[in-house]
Symmetry: C2
Subunit: 313 residues, 2 copies
Amino acid sequence: MNRFEIESASARIDAGLGSFIRQTPLWKLPGGVLGVNGAEVWLKLEHLQVGGSFKARGMLNRLLAHPMPASGVIVASGGNAGIATAAAARALGVACEVFVPEVSPEAKRARLRDLGARVVVTGASYAEAFAACLARQRETGALLTHAYDQPEVVAGAGTLAREIEAQGRAVPDTVLVSVGGGGLIGGIAAWFEQRARVVALEPEGAPTLYRAREAGHPVDVTVGGIAADSLGARRIGDIAWGLTQQHVKDALLLSDDAIGAAQHWLWKEMKLAVEPAAALGLAALQTGAYRARADEKVVLILCGANMDPSRLA
Amino acid sequence: MNRFEIESASARIDAGLGSFIRQTPLWKLPGGVLGVNGAEVWLKLEHLQVGGSFKARGMLNRLLAHPMPASGVIVASGGNAGIATAAAARALGVACEVFVPEVSPEAKRARLRDLGARVVVTGASYAEAFAACLARQRETGALLTHAYDQPEVVAGAGTLAREIEAQGRAVPDTVLVSVGGGGLIGGIAAWFEQRARVVALEPEGAPTLYRAREAGHPVDVTVGGIAADSLGARRIGDIAWGLTQQHVKDALLLSDDAIGAAQHWLWKEMKLAVEPAAALGLAALQTGAYRARADEKVVLILCGANMDPSRLA
């Protein structure tokens, strides 16, 4: 995975269905506005992307990169990856099956049905739903999308970094990136390589990359906590593992309290309604877990907004 | 009121406390993304302004334009004007008294206290609170801010139009503006004059400009409905009346159903959490109350986000 694959993904998306992906705003602010000393903060408002998260980029890229079977696409995810796959499939006019475990909330299933997907509820856990999804895929031959560990999905996420550089008219010094399975940080790191410092941020309750770095290789972790909904992958993806080993020096953990406080701060002071996963960057700056220099240009990626807004009240 | 006064306001704000006012994002989108045929829509994300509405521009301009009395500033408003005045006063380090009627919700009073204001709860109605505020002002000599009918307040709002033109690198064809007391549309019309078509939008339940145009002069109206919280002025301001008579040809009314539907659409499809008053522009486009040409550049001003987010769930 490298910059050329991201350039290809960008060209494929533009040519295939450019109007589906939104060029989300990049908002440059003095750090003081965000309660941070010094630094120029670039807020990438990617939570305004179609489907409410960055995932639409990777899913559309995956769907466009392959011949489309008559059976359409298939995915196991009740979260942002499922929404993004269903939205991209609808935009392309192809069928979509989404497998979710029995524990998934009805509101999420309804959202997927609204997007035209056939929702299959099966299995006590995500792992069981995923196994059923794979069995179904072998039966139908549908195109499988994975939430983070497919090259087209990572390259699609990388188009976000390319867009930041173009909008900012400069390479930022630092990019703070929330990590679950690693699809986003893989794409960001592949684009910037070592031209910017890419910093991995994880909740203490879902430390897939942090634990992998301790072990020297990807390992399963138990996940939970405030951001588990979108960052709760059990293991860092192989593609992200390779890319972060190559390009990412820093991996930091943040407490649920710090993440929740930053999420509420973004609503109260900025009127940005985002999911917990999108608040890790601000949490890192506001707690001092990451300390920026006075002249540092720091990108925060607000990666998603799929949550119940009454949580902000 | 004219473009020169708006240029002066802009320069005064930059020189006086430029870091307080945020240059909010202007987001250009194909109309299709917003469920509208044709047209290029420019979304001005002014609900991300400090204090959660455009009002901060006018209030700061008013505070900077006058010598500051030792008694500080005073205002009668439990809504966006009160928040903006209190926030600007705090940023300047001056005292602030806010008069609100007994019917105002405790959440709003708490917000004002959080901003360092002294909150005075008095009177059964806004009119009574306003009368008490004026009596107190005569006693203390504090600088009075009015929610919409002061030249500095209107000129401050006009800096929003100036910013749109600069960010858009062009004059748009059309600007759709929500109207309460008219501070915003006065400033927008004064900036664009007849270079763009400025369209006034009001809820059926709060038709201050619409009724004034029927009567040929400003008249009191009874107000209510979904957006009364921020658009519920009883009478169009004199400054806005003069400016709209000069520059604004179209004044449209929208139903609460259309406004509420557009507000929920902005959350569900765009993840933009805004107050009802900010949704009138999209409501006008989505209902066809305003029909844009295929090649028309239409600005929607998302003017505020001060609401209970659980209303979006």
